[in-house]
Subunit: 136 residues, 3 copies
């Protein structure tokens, strides 16, 4: 069994932002020299998510609109005592906070439209994403 | 370490449909001859989900009703320019889009009521689900 | 490759309750003697979830309030024929029902604020959570 552990760092300009990271993960898969295995991509901060979906700007606006409708960002929350990011903690759960990807023949085994995104919901500060690859 | 990689194919009659796939996954576990390990079950299309929940038709109606209430299927979305499936991209995130299962003693290690479903939210066309098994 | 399989048991006093389980998972990682690998933490009951988020009581209230607003616990559901827990089946999907954690240098590789919680949405009875660790 081989493993690779890496930490990606993000510091988004916007407080809420979708960052395409498929290529970064693919590079790490290549670096790992693992031909067959699994990749965990997990934000180490609890106001962000990693998802797999479409690389289409309109859809990303739709996500933010739906999240805002369901869990308004600036509403009153019990968590927001000295903080103002309760909604971002909740949004990341609704979006599914992490993904596991497969490696086959030394490459990410993704469908045509599957793209990996880092979803920042409380940005403008440094955040890390753990990438753990295991396999052979 | 052993691995098995397979692709299940679905082409549902309904645009929205829940398909029970526990047995198919169990067969692949048997085929893999892996006694102890993990199984990733991941839709390769971004308008579908794989979930673990109850094999009960009433509950599946409840899921569709809740999703429709939260994110109406035929509402206006930025993504729907030349497309009409924005809601299905969003539904699959709300449902949790993929699952990881455990293998113990050569079998899926599931609780009594845990059943695996392919959740199609934009069907009537061919879709694939990746099953990646790793273990020993 | 080494593996460890354990089953945590919960019987919460409240019907809805968040139970901090980071330390229990960490103990199992130590017991496994695995230095590098993955940990699946999966509720074996379909009215509960395992999540990673903040150990802050206000936020947990916010989660319950948001879930209640989106999917009222005592509303009418098709599933509730002889049962009354449809909402808990749905809540656990919205929260993301399971997590995969990483082990690095023999320890859970978590960010500063990442804490693992068992989220009971239909408790006051015995429930199990599967912990499956694989690695080297």
């Amino acid at each position: 069994m081989k493993t690779l552990t890496e930490y990606l760092v993000f510091n988004t300009k916007q407080r809420k932002e979708f960052v395409l990271i498929t290529d970064k993960i693919e590079e790490l898969v290549k670096k790992s020299k693992i031909k067959d295995g699994l990749v965990l991509v997990n934000p180490m901060h609890i106001t962000a998510a990693v998802i797999v979906n479409d690389n289409e700007q309109g859809l990303h606006k739709d996500y933010l609109n739906v999240l805002e409708k369901l869990v308004p960002y600036n509403a009153k929350y019990f968590h927001n005592v000295g903080e103002d990011n309760a909604a971002s903690h909740i949004w990341r759960q609704l979006m599914g906070h992490q993904v596991v990807l497969a490696i086959t023949n030394g490459k990410l085994d993704l469908g045509t439209w599957e793209q990996v995104f880092y979803c920042e919901f409380d940005g403008q500060r440094q955040k890390r994403v753990l990438v753990k690859i295991i396999g052979e």
